[in-house]
Symmetry: C2
Subunit: 528 residues, 2 copies
């Protein structure tokens, strides 16, 4: 993973021909004259953990090889992959660097590390792929602790077992998406979970952040796939899930799913798996406007047949062609309509075509669908190229019930446009719907603008306005990115003071010294 | 509802011809000579609530008409509808009777009643249809409180709103199943939730106990249908659910679902609804043995097509014909095989027939399916007739992953047979699978025996042995009946001490004086 950006540096893609001119003409983007920092020249804060603490951590994690204190390891575990995170690290600002990176290799070692940290009041930031885009890896109130360690789970990377009868598999949390798929494929199974972060994010992160993948219409969200969880906490272990579903009290799995490392460290995940499909087919459709495209999606979501992949870009996203980042920079069509991509396993279901045609859609054939499929993990690479070119690019997302989708769409889009225009960096705001349910859908926004005088400050203002708009319009503060520290205050508004009080009570029970991911999900100091 | 049994007394069914002889010959059932008590002659305990408390409750609930202290009201709110509950109340034993029945008519009145009770240390037992079969309406440690009220939610019986675009509806908790269906049908929608308790159980109870209905294969469990909840607690309100699904932290709806009145009182439920299907078709199939029938169900659950209704009786249940209670008492066939009933909306999917045939099934045509559908809510009426005839009849259920189903089936069946035979009342133990998931299924056991010397003591021993067997075999202590007080200690083993600690922490936050359904779900006194 590129320390200052996304993914495999070998896959870095330059901005397509003509894109720079388009960005300049359309958004006033100017090439930045400040070159990104060099990794070797970044000054990390003085480490706070002494020899005794480091020795205790090494003993807990199975040896000194599993405790790293070098500058590069610390920088590579500093914050996540939101655009503000990248802008800060590109500028060499790593004030949130952990004091050490600890790599336990088993459930027992995770538990031992937590015990060692609780005894010494060392904060622990669980670290899977490091792909959080909501400040989920940025501890708050670090000064209240004697140090901060990143708990890197990469050594916990085994497929523990497969139950072909029940079609379940036990996965360790440090498995990255492609590796988990490859191991399951050997048994003829697939997880079917392909979020945009797929190449780098881990199974533990999928669970801890309630991830949702591009095939969610067919395979469900990651939290739908989880049937069991093992969790290490400073107060002991949780081992949950004796049946797919149960009436034995509240479903505590749903308290761990989405807990983002604030309640404990997930050390194994039992997931539902499915046979690898023999083939998949993708297809593009054009709708005259977003409203009619959304109505068509709703029909498929409510009455079927439901594709495995279903996404719809609004007019702006369709126009800019961000659904196919490789094509950015072409001439902008004047009336692009809205592009829908659908994917089925096997063949495209003809009944779906009939629904889409009836809803005002026009078939575009396989090519747009296959182009989307081909470039489905590319957007984060494109962001690096945009940042290099002096542009600002970021995403945010929400969800609500179908009847609320139009208002939520307008409210968030307007909030982003108004605040960024007011800051002198008028943006392009694009949106797509990529996760549907019988009762509602998600909205995923992409914002591109000039960086302007102070991109971080401009974005903070715009993001806060978007968050306010989401809450005011009745949406959820996140459909699949999570809460982290960035969304925490709006999340508290979403669930209300008593909901926040319940989270605090659970946190206090499982993590009484408050060492786990401080500031994430729950405010760092009780504030009820 | 019959105070001493099930349902509408006008629907009471006598035991079919010949059944008494069969019970005598097969199980040694002897007609009891003790006639059930008369309602008017039962002595209720002296009420403990004084004039001040009753006045405060009346003010909270909107008037003295909404606080009832008469003997009949108190008896009708004593415990639930498990067989031990019925045996006790039939014997005139109502030591658990609440001191008063309070009927609030709004969320605000519920909250006011909770406040009045918390201030006076009065225990509150939320009461919907009163159909708990797991001791969910039997407060423990009542002596530690100044009194006990049953909080009857029958006045909260409105369909608040329907959102036809999102296909959701807001229901009040006191709505009974048929009334909720009728109100939704007026809008063209159905909930599709038909548990055996359907005629009497309420929407609030469905949510609080994680109910699962007979059409769960097609419509999902009740907890799958819930997208929003409003809850009144002694510490304030919870208002949850801004989108069908979210990544904004743990899903707190799943902490309320299954909380059985121990955390708060559900005052509204937002559910997913579907258009009323034009028609349904049912069909019976015969499998040579339970194992092959279960394998066939698994194929439908994992690869489809999934019927709306799917159930399979084991050899004993098929033989006795309890799947069609009206037929009990006929000659017992020597090799009945296992009866499967499947139901589809519209026509039976021919692909399902192909799967069943391939799995060793033999079609029996529509009649067995239609007979099941016709008698689907009759079993609890039959139980009353069995009790009247001197027999003992009770049910219990569990669930696990497919690979664990055979062992769980054997372990529970053996535990029941061995303990009851050891007590001198050898039972018939029947089983069916009626809820399936991709990863597993439920097992539902029906036990019929002679009452013997002390039916309550015999059953307690057998039930504990079955619970132990469930936990030892890796099953969940309940798939859809819930925890109540009866399963509480095994539930604590299922989720472990830290899981139980989390529940206690949540309970302490929402109900610090411990007035809500004491002893249900969480031990009445902190025991960690």
């Amino acid at each position: 993973m590129l320390w200052s950006g996304w993914g495999d540096p070998a896959k870095a893609a330059p901005l397509p021909e003509g894109a720079a001119g388009l960005l300049r003409d359309l958004l006033g983007v100017r090439t930045s004259d400040a070159a990104p920092a060099e990794l070797s020249e970044i000054a990390v804060p003085a480490p706070r953990l002494g020899a005794e603490a480091l020795a205790a951590l090494a003993e807990a994690a199975g040896g000194t090889a599993h405790v790293r204190t070098g500058a590069e390891a610390r920088i590579r575990h500093t914050r996540g992959k939101s655009t503000p995170d990248l802008l800060r690290v590109r500028a060499g600002e790593v004030s949130d660097a952990p004091d050490a990176v600890v790599l336990p290799g088993s459930h027992g070692e995770v538990a031992a590390v937590l015990a060692a940290c609780a005894a010494r009041r060392i904060a622990v930031v669980p670290f899977g792929g490091g792909t959080s885009v909501v400040g989920g890896l940025r501890p708050e109130g670090a000064a209240a602790f004697t140090g901060v360690v990143a708990l890197d789970l990469r050594r916990l990377d085994a497929l523990v077992s497969v139950d072909p009868v029940s079609r379940t598999a036990v996965l360790q949390p440090g498995l990255r998406g492609p590796r988990a798929e490859a191991l399951l494929n050997e048994h003829g199974f697939t997880l079917g979970h392909f979020p945009q972060s797929y190449e780098w994010a881990t199974v533990g992160g999928f669970a801890a952040a309630r991830s949702s993948g591009q095939a969610s219409a067919g395979y469900g969200r990651f939290d739908d796939m989880v049937v069991g969880l093992t969790v290490a906490t400073p107060e002991g272990d949780l081992d949950l899930g004796r049946a797919p579903r149960s009436a034995a009290g509240p479903d505590l799995r749903h308290l761990v799913l989405g807990s983002e490392g604030a309640f404990g460290v997930i050390t194994s995940v039992t997931v539902r798996v499915r046979p690898v499909p023999p083939s998949s087919a993708y297809e593009g459709w054009r709708f005259p406007d977003f409203e009619r495209g959304v109505a068509a999606m709703r029909r498929l979501a409510q009455d079927g047949p439901l594709p495995v992949v279903l996404r719809l870009s609004d007019e702006t996203e369709t126009m800019v062609g961000l659904a196919d980042p490789g094509a950015v920079g072409g001439d902008l069509p004047s009336d692009p309509g809205c592009l829908m991509v659908l994917g089925f396993e096997g063949e495209i279901d003809p009944r779906a075509r009939a629904v889409l045609r009836d809803a005002g859609g026009e078939p575009l054939g396989a090519e747009p669908g296959e182009k989307w499929e081909h470039g489905r993990f590319n957007a984060p690479y494109l962001r690096d190229a945009l940042l290099d070119a002096g542009a600002f690019a970021e995403t945010l997302e929400t969800a609500t019930f179908w009847s609320g989708v139009p208002d939520l769409y307008r409210a968030v889009k307007n909030a982003l446009i108004e605040t960024l225009a007011g800051s002198g960096t008028p943006p392009l705001v694009m949106c797509h719907v990529s996760h549907v349910y019988a009762a509602g859908a998600s909205l995923y926004f992409t914002v591109v603008s000039a960086q302007g005088e102070d991109a971080l400050a401009h974005w903070e203002k715009a993001k806060h306005a978007a968050n306010d708009a989401i809450i005011a319009a009745g949406g959820t503060i996140s459909h699949h990115h999570g809460v982290g520290t960035d969304h925490r205050d709006w999340y508290a508004r979403e669930i209300g003071p008593l909901g926040a009080g319940v989270l605090r009570a659970v946190k206090d029970r499982l993590d009484p010294s408050g060492i786990l991911n401080p500031g994430v999900l729950v405010p760092p100091v009780p504030q009820e």
